[in-house]
Structures are given as structure tokens and as C-alpha cells.
Symmetry: C2
Subunit: 245 residues, 2 copies
């Protein structure tokens, strides 16, 4: 028996998210199906980040245990020949039998992309959220800086989420503009359910002038989901980096 870790990239457009659902296809279900066929035994992967429907990833992580003789680093090649083209293993390797990325200290980075122009761009439509309302990027940058550090992010967590603690540490939160594309980059030691999308929705409210940058500390203090902005649409979100710290 050995444990193998996969680095998984996917275009989330056509999936009901990572986690197995009864009512639609998921990344986890695809991995289980094709790994089981490849290795000739029933495989169940365990993922590091349960991304939502429509969210993309360059590097989600998953582990599974197998008795198969195929070397861990070869599994990526065999699996990629079977997977649909919107899922691709970037790396497979053997890890310690008790290792799990979800229970290991990590720095995760998400990017949220906004296409801010008069009209949408068809080749950006799957991987960004479009808005024609001009966004003030300077104010978004000022607002973003308030997220950095250890805070109680209860205001930035979907209502009804079961979680032991809503305290998280954000290492970096930046806003960059490159032509019509505005990219919000957030890295931290962990994220609550919908947290990055609510941060993005709140920063867009700042960009539109509906909130001031200095409102962010107040919203954090209020510990109330109603105080923050809306949850930004899933398709603008991508998990872009995973580091063990």
C-alpha cells in the first residue's frame, strides 16, 4: 500500500465543483473513475480544496492509497490519457502514508479575475467576471490592504457554514490592472466557504464607489455576512498556487 499525491489542474466550467454530487459531474468523481480503471482497483481520492461549481484550479491537490505496482510518478501520464481534456494532472508522486495536504500547514493562493470594459471579450468569458461599470483600482488596492494579517473573517463566510473558527491569516491581498483585466490575488493559510468570492465582491463594491476602502475594517469587526459585499460569480475564481510552509 502506498499513498500518492496528485496536482490537478481543471477548467471548472462544466463541473459541479470538486466534491462528489448526486446531481452532476465533479472533478472528484472523474478522478475516482479514471484512477480506478487505470489501476484496476477501487480508488477514492481525498482533495485538499473543495472548490465550488465553476471555479478553476491550476494546482488543487488530492491523495489516494493504492496497492497498484505502477510507480507514483508514472500515474500522471496514464491518467492524463484517460481524463477529459478539461482536467489534467500536473504531477503525481508518492508521499508518506499519513500525509494529507488538508491537514498540513499550507499557503494557498487564489486569483479572481474581472474583465472591466464596455463589452465582454469572448476569449476571456470563461475565466473572468465581466462588468462594464468602471472600477476604481486605486481604491480597491487600498481596501485590499486591510485584509492582510490575522482577522476574524465571519463577515466573509457564507451563512450557515459549520466551522470551528472563522479566524484566518491572509499573507497577501493585491489588486493589479492589466488593460481591461483586473486581477485580485489573495494568499493565506486557509479560506472559509466563499471567502475569496466575498472578498472579491466587496472589493468590487469599493471599486464602484458603493463602499469606501476604510469600510473594510468595520465590516471585519461586525462579524456579519450582511455587512460585506455580494459573493462574486464562480467563473472568475482560480486556485493558482499551493505551497507547504
Amino acid at each position: 500500500m502506498k499513498r500518492v499525491m496528485l496536482t490537478v489542474a481543471y477548467d471548472g466550467t462544466n463541473y459541479c465543483g470538486w466534491q462528489i454530487q448526486s446531481n452532476g459531474n465533479t472533478i472528484e468523481a472523474e478522478l475516482n473513475k479514471h484512477l480506478s480503471e487505470l489501476l484496476g482497483e477501487e480508488i477514492k481520492v481525498s482533495g485538499a480544496s473543495r472548490t465550488d461549481a465553476g471555479v478553476h484550479a491550476l494546482c488543487n491537490l488530492a491523495v489516494f492509497d493504492t496497492n497498484a505496482r505502477m510507480p507514483g510518478e508514472k500515474i500522471s501520464y496514464g491518467l492524463n490519457q484517460r481524463l477529459p481534456e478539461d482536467i489534467r494532472i500536473q504531477e503525481s508522486k508518492e508521499v508518506d502514508g499519513d500525509f494529507h495536504p488538508r491537514f498540513t500547514a499550507t499557503k494557498k493562493t487564489y486569483e479572481y479575475r474581472i474583465y472591466n470594459s464596455r463589452f465582454p471579450n469572448p476569449v476571456e468569458r470563461l475565466y473572468s467576471h465581466f462588468t462594464y461599470v468602471p472600477l476604481n483600482v486605486d481604491n480597491m488596492q487600498r481596501a485590499a490592504a486591510f485584509f492582510v494579517g490575522e482577522h476574524d473573517f465571519k463577515s466573509f463566510c457564507a451563512v450557515g457554514t459549520q466551522v470551528e473558527s472563522t479566524i484566518r491569516t491572509i499573507y497577501e491581498c493585491t489588486v493589479e490592472k492589466n488593460g481591461p483585466v483586473i486581477c485580485i490575488r489573495v494568499s493565506g493559510n486557509g479560506f472559509l466557504y466563499n471567502m475569496v468570492r466575498i472578498i472579491a465582491g466587496t472589493l468590487m463594491e469599493v471599486g464602484k464607489g458603493n463602499l469606501n476602502p476604510a469600510d473594510v475594517p468595520t465590516i471585519l469587526e461586525e462579524r456579519n455576512r450582511q455587512s460585506a459585499g455580494p459573493t462574486a460569480p464562480a467563473k472568475g475564481l482560480m486556485l493558482t498556487a499551493y505551497e507547504f510552509v
Copy 2:
């Protein structure tokens, strides 16, 4: 009667190219259909660049004549509400009645994107050509420089193309690497059929070491399609800029 010019962006993935075909959907057919419905008269657009099946554009141009009273600059809004989401008008405006972008001196820019890594990236798959063979970008840059200037591009034109002259002027031909993405950018006063894709295919042969940079002048001199590299796949190609000079 007035003439209106459209700037058209599209994701070419699901189209049989620009020009109307009997056997599949095209950008031209979609524009004609939705413009005719919007303006209440039969509209036939005339495009500037007849891009191939699978090729993308940020800014192809098309003109049409109409008796409709709707101001030219408003047509973009009405048309975008009707078009499928993989086609979006970026601008519409009235132009002189005898103006046609195909018969006006222009500088056109194409980009060809290559995703060069061990495994494909799902979120790049629709807008780049994947190869795992490591490409030598320095050599590709040296080779690209030989295309700049006025040359006979017969070696870089699909066999059987009917054309008065195969002489074209290339203003710029560069190769840039940004992580795993290699971008070939070519601008010129006009392009022969498949010319940019054959340039890209030839530069990839240089990158792989199957050709030397100094082979490019020889290939140009030979005026023989067989001398150049293969035609690179359509999905890596995008028309990115159109300027009147």
C-alpha cells in the same frame, strides 16, 4: 443608406471560421442573421479578414450598408444582446459609404500562443497549441527576425491559393516567453492564406532543433511550401490588432 463598421471579437472554437459555409456555422452567418433581425431588413456584412475554423479574434472588422434609422454607434448594444456569448461587438460606427477595411492600408497583428510544458493546462487549452517538446526560445527569436521586411512569402502560403502577389511586408515578428506560454507576435500589411500558422509551425521546428534560425532566409528564397514547417493548429492563433496606416 449608410455604411456601418463593426469591430468583432470572437472565440472561434465552435465556428467553421468567418466566411459563410454550407456545412457549418460561421461568424459571418451569425452577424447577418442577428443584424437582419435587429434592423428589420436583410443585412450582409463584408469582413476584413476571413479567419479559418478555430481561429480567434479580438478585433476583426466588417462593414455593411443599412437604411435603418438606428444610429451606427448604438448597433453594438442591440446586437450584443442577440449574439451568442462567444461573439461580441466591441464597437460599431458609421463610416464613409465607400470605405472598406479590406481595401484600405492596414497594419494587422496576429498572435500565436504555444503552451510548452510537460502536461497541458486545461484553462489554456482553447487558446493555445500544446507541445511537451522543449522549445529553444532564443533560436526561435533569431529565426523570427528574418521574417521582418518585404519578402516573397510563397513558401509560407498554403498550396493552391489564388493570389496576385505573394509579396508582403512584415513590420514585426517577435517571440516572447512568459512561464510556459510562448507567444509569437507578427504584424504586417497583409497575410497570405495560412501564412501566420506556417510561420508559427516553422518557428516551432526551429525551437525543436529540426531547423536552424539561418535556414529561414533559404526557405524564403526557395518559394516552395514544402521547404517551410507544418501549418500550426488553428486554435493557437488570434487576430489581436487592426490599425489603419
